[in-house]
């Protein structure tokens, strides 16, 4: 579904992604791992059209997408849950969620999706009128996830979605991710919580030094000593 080939990205003179190639097959969940500053967020932002790449290509369902604007990517179905919960602080929770569907026109279905999000995060239902900026950190993270789902993505990019969520909620989220995946949603997941990554992803890629240095099934990741040594630095 999503094929990244020889992608290069830099901020000014600092090159962050040197040559990244990997694939996210349709209907699968793929984990992207890497140390702090290895370029994971940059990768997702490039896929979202927020950051421009300086070389390489991004194929989404066989069509070249590199260089498209962010709203185009959303319209094509690639939606991101950004790192650091970028909510709209002065708007209500409900508005935040509804605007997640800003590109959609099917008002009826939107209602249903909204209810689904509230069902997924019952906490949010209780605070739907409150301004998102006044929520606790974890509650904001829920808003960020819910908002992305409201866009009805076909490919979801999640940048550390479990960050700041309580273990129970993480468990629920994992269930939701799996359920969505079963309904056909393709997911590219950046995670530091290796438990979450292992629980949902089928395959994993490790980003290091601007390149993919390891690719393999996610299942074995936790027990793979070689990987952990290079990646965890143990």
């Amino acid at each position: 579904m999503l094929a990244i080939q020889h992608l290069k990205v830099s901020y000014g003179i600092t090159q962050v992604l040197r040559d990244v190639t990997f694939e996210v097959p349709a209907g699968k969940i793929v984990a992207l791992l890497g140390g702090n500053g290895s370029g994971k967020t940059t990768m997702l932002n490039t896929l979202s059209g927020v950051v421009r790449c300086s070389g390489g290509s991004i194929l989404f369902e066989g069509k070249e997408c590199a260089g498209l604007s962010a709203d185009n990517m959303v319209r094509r179905g690639i939606v991101q849950v950004p790192q650091g919960r970028e909510v709209w602080p002065s708007m209500s929770v409900q508005d935040n969620l509804e605007l997640g569907a800003a590109t959609r026109r099917d008002w009826g279905a939107m209602r249903a999706d909204l209810d689904e999000v509230y069902a997924m995060f019952p906490k949010l239902a209780a605070v739907r009128k409150r301004r998102a900026g006044s929520l606790s950190g974890g509650e904001q993270q829920m808003v960020a996830i819910g908002r992305a789902l409201m866009a009805r993505p076909r490919c979801l990019l999640m940048d550390e979605p479990s960050a700041g969520l309580a273990p129970t909620i993480v468990g629920d989220m994992v269930d939701t991710i799996l359920a969505l995946n079963r309904r056909g949603l393709t997911i590219l997941l950046v995670e530091q919580n290796i438990g979450v990554a292992a629980a949902v992803a089928e395959s994993a890629h490790i980003l290091q030094g601007g390149e993919i240095t390891f690719s393999g099934p996610a299942a074995g990741l936790v027990d793979n000593d070689e990987v952990l040594r290079s990646y965890l630095g143990r």
Binding site: T14, Q15, V16, R18, G35, G37, S38, Q208, G209, G210
Partner: protein
């Protein structure tokens, strides 16, 4: 340090300024003196706006208060300039401190408007408190004398301005590279984080307002002496625009930038005399052009093009490591 290093350029500018009166005619000397006065203003304003991040619009008013203070003390009480001048600056400082109080509660555009309202109020006082300020017609100030020094009024004022610029530039430059400068920037970039690191908001906001008031007051005093005439027009919103433009064109958050910005702006205003009739259009276009093509101001451009032009908020040590280019090695470093 490179030939075009910051220090060399500054020294060259200073030398030029010191000998300039020997070959400048009266008009250019007047322009040069105006630049020096605006440099002071711009430095003070940049500390407040560029460093401490307070979007205040009262600088022209404080400039005016300095000018009126200096002038009126001479006119009403017959004080000599040398006494009225520092006192005028002190009054402007006090006013600056006073308007920092609402600034503690206000931020962004609300602060902008409330200080703008204060500026309008000041104008109104200049206009309406006729027994003291002589109202809209303004008043003449007595010519300043440099006796017993054998130096003319114009030349004396020029060198007085130059000395003040040198001293106040150095003070400001030292200040922003100290913990106080960093506290200003901390207040600008995140009030809550600043507070939780022990930065007292009230204290530092007041300090920034006070400093900019002081610089504006000094500039105002010199201005009144240079023009020998004080009236409300000199301190209106057009002035405000010029002051703001100086720090944007020079570069926010840079003392050297303030100097360059003030120089550039006065120069542009004088150069625009050439395009009679369309000065406004040209001025607007130049302003927009500067902001578009030099978004970081002249200083931002220099920092990019000339090595050694960085303006750190601490005293750069000789043994600086070069900035890192590659970054991905960071996955190897550990906590």
């Amino acid at each position: 340090m490179a030939l075009f290093g910051r220090r060399n350029v500054l020294v060259a500018m200073l030398l030029f300024a010191a000998v300039a009166p020997t070959f400048l005619n009266a008009y250019y000397l007047f322009v040069a003196n105006t630049i020096l006065i605006y440099v002071l203003l711009a430095i003070g304003l940049n500390i407040l706006v560029g460093y401490a991040g307070q979007l205040a619009f009262a600088n022209a008013a404080m400039f005016g208060i300095g000018a009126y203070g200096t002038g009126l003390l001479q006119v009403h009480f017959g004080w000599p300039f040398w006494l009225a001048f520092p006192l005028g600056a002190l009054i402007a400082t006090m006013v600056g401190l006073a308007i920092s109080l609402p600034a503690l509660r206000l931020s962004g555009l609300y602060l902008a408007l409330s200080t703008l309202a204060f500026a309008q109020f000041t104008q109104w006082v200049f206009l309406n408190w006729e027994p003291v300020t002589f109202g809209a017609g303004g008043f003449k100030t007595p010519p300043i004398s440099f006796a017993p020094l054998p130096i003319s009024k114009t030349l004396g004022l020029y060198y007085l301005s130059l000395i003040l610029v040198m001293v106040l530039f150095a003070l400001a430059q030292n200040l922003v590279r100290s913990r106080i400068g960093r506290a200003f920037v901390a207040v600008r970039d995140g009030e809550i984080a600043a507070e939780s690191l022990g930065v007292d908001l009230l204290r530092y906001k007041a300090l920034a307002f006070g400093i900019s008031g002081f610089y504006a007051g000094i500039a105002g005093g010199l201005y009144s002496a240079m023009l020998n005439f004080v009236s409300p027009e000199g301190f209106d919103l057009f002035q405000m625009v010029i002051h703001k433009a100086m720090i944007i064109v020079g570069g926010l958050g840079s003392i050297v930038g303030s100097v360059l910005g003030a120089g550039t702006l006065v120069f542009v205003l004088e150069a625009l005399r050439k395009v009679k009739g369309v000065q406004e259009i040209a001025f607007g276009a130049i302003l927009v052009g500067f902001i578009l093509f030099m978004p970081g101001g002249i200083i931002g451009y220099l920092k990019e093009k000339v090595r050694g032009w960085e303006e750190p908020l601490h005293r750069a040590r000789a043994s600086r490591r070069p900035p890192v280019a590659a970054t991905s090695e960071s996955s190897e470093v550990r906590p």
